[in-house]
């Protein structure tokens, strides 16, 4: 038995519907909202600002600090313990590493840019949604960036390559070949991947093919992120000078 029809009826290479917005948190210097399917991420950026404790300061460049957090009610009904845990620490770290290649903080020595990612609702792919939201928020905050970053998960469900797995696909147990879940983050201008993780087992050929499909999906997502930013500043086009 192979996995020919996806559980939610999507096509093999189809991502879930996306809603993206910029500037949703007024107190922050920049903010972003990213909803993909039932996964919702908010990101708020504060800074560049003074970094304390002082020993963390880097005189050669500013630093980026990400914080990923799932809200207590965000799961499938069981209370998720918020705050730092092994998983949240890891995701905070990989988010930071995924965004770092595009942000340029050379202009802000000894300072910090804080990114807070909160997920009020999750249905798999939360780190990818977090990265997408954070990337919108950083651009909104006027941070110098070479490019936006978009992220999506690819993988195989019982041997079939699919894009943007939801929770039920991740937990699919019926097949013999199992599930592989590969979150990726992609930088379009350099065509580089800045995040690559995997759960499960996949053959080499399928991995290469899946990554190519993932990059295509990311190109789609980047357009949605760009539009979200332009939407916020839309009328700024005309200036009364």
């Amino acid at each position: 038995m192979t996995y020919t029809k996806r559980l939610d009826g999507r096509k093999q290479k189809e991502i879930r519907p996306i809603v993206a917005k910029a500037g949703v948190i007024k107190n922050a210097d920049g903010s972003g909202y990213f909803k993909i399917g039932n996964t919702v991420a908010y990101a708020a950026v504060y800074g560049p600002r003074e970094l304390h404790p002082k020993f963390l300061q880097d005189p050669s460049t500013g630093i980026l600090r990400c914080n990923y957090n799932m809200m207590p009610f965000s799961g499938m009904g069981n209370r998720v313990k918020p705050g730092q845990n092994r998983r949240a620490k890891e995701i905070s770290l990989v988010t930071e590493k995924a965004l770092l290649p595009v942000v340029d903080l050379k202009e802000y020595p000894n300072a910090v840019v804080d990114v807070f990612i909160e997920l009020p609702q999750t249905d798999a792919g939360s780190r990818c949604a977090g990265i997408c939201a954070a990337s919108i928020a950083l651009a909104d905050a006027g941070i110098p960036m070479k490019d936006l970053v978009s992220a999506v998960s690819v993988g195989t469900v019982d041997g079939t390559i699919v894009v943007d797995l939801d929770y039920f696909e991740e937990a699919y147990e019926e097949g013999e070949e199992g599930v592989a879940d590969i979150p990726i983050a992609y930088i379009p201008s350099t065509q580089e991947l800045s995040l690559l993780q995997m759960d499960g087992v996949i053959t080499k050929d399928k991995l290469v093919e899946a990554l190519e499909i993932g990059k295509k999906a990311c190109e789609e997502i980047i357009e949605i992120q760009k539009n979200a930013l332009k939407e916020k500043y839309k009328i700024s086009g005309e200036d009364n000078e």
């Binding site: 210097d29 920049g30 800074g47 560049p48 600002r49 003074e50 005189p59 500013g62 595009v102 340029d104 202009e107 802000y108 020595p109 000894n110 300072a111 651009a139 909104d140 905050a141 006027g142 941070i143 110098p144 960036m145 070479k146 490019d147 936006l148 379009p188 201008s189 350099t190 980047i222 992120q225 760009k226 930013l229 332009k230 500043y233 839309k234 009328i235 700024s236 086009g237 005309e238 200036d239 009364n240 000078e241």
Partner: protein, 254 residues
Amino acid sequence: MGKLLVGERSVVVPGEKIAEGLDYLPAHGAYRKDDHILAGKLGLLTVDGRAVKIIPLSGRYMPKRNDVIIGKVIDVMISGWRMDINCAYSAMLSMKDATSDFIARGADLTQFFNLEDYVVVKIVNVTSQKLVDLTTKGPGLRKLYGGRVITVNCNKVPRIIGKQGSMVSLIKNATGCKIIVGQNGIVWLQGEPMSEVIAIQAIKKIEEESHISGLTERVTEFLEKSCGKIEPRESSEEQNDEQSEEAQEEQQEQ
């Protein structure tokens, strides 16, 4: 032959291709990658001859030499004051740049500026490590007494001041408030309590609507509605000083 890929004065987002070919040169906020010029931050695209630059629409204040700003004293040190200037870096006002009075060794510096005092200062120098030096020697630079302090988006400061300080003097004349706008987005104002409130509303209105054309008309209308017909006010000497100061700032911005 190079060509622009997006219209001038349109909003660009990081990574967006702005121009093609080697004829255009990347200036502030843009960078070159192979044959293309890409946006390096979110902002408004402007083309000046061959140079392509991006005017930021958001972001924190970045200290710049010769900017007139409003700072708050956060620490009194052995030979000067440390000030919060609404950015990632605090600034230093040294004794010798603060006053020409004789100060005895070991004197109490709080008699000049105490903690929490707001001071109009000018940036003398900014180093690569963002150490900021300030001065209070110059026209219009002084300690502020009373009044209110509000914070606005520092990218909207040129709009609030207006051409040659036209916008800010409009508000000054209508409300009778004294207003000083710092380049770092800190605005100080003083007047009758009610007119202070109106002035703050007007400034917030400019901040929110600066991108919609016909701003001056709308602000005039708002001010006329709130405080009656605007009479040209006899300007005191101090006010003239401030205005010329801000006008200079505005020109530097351009």
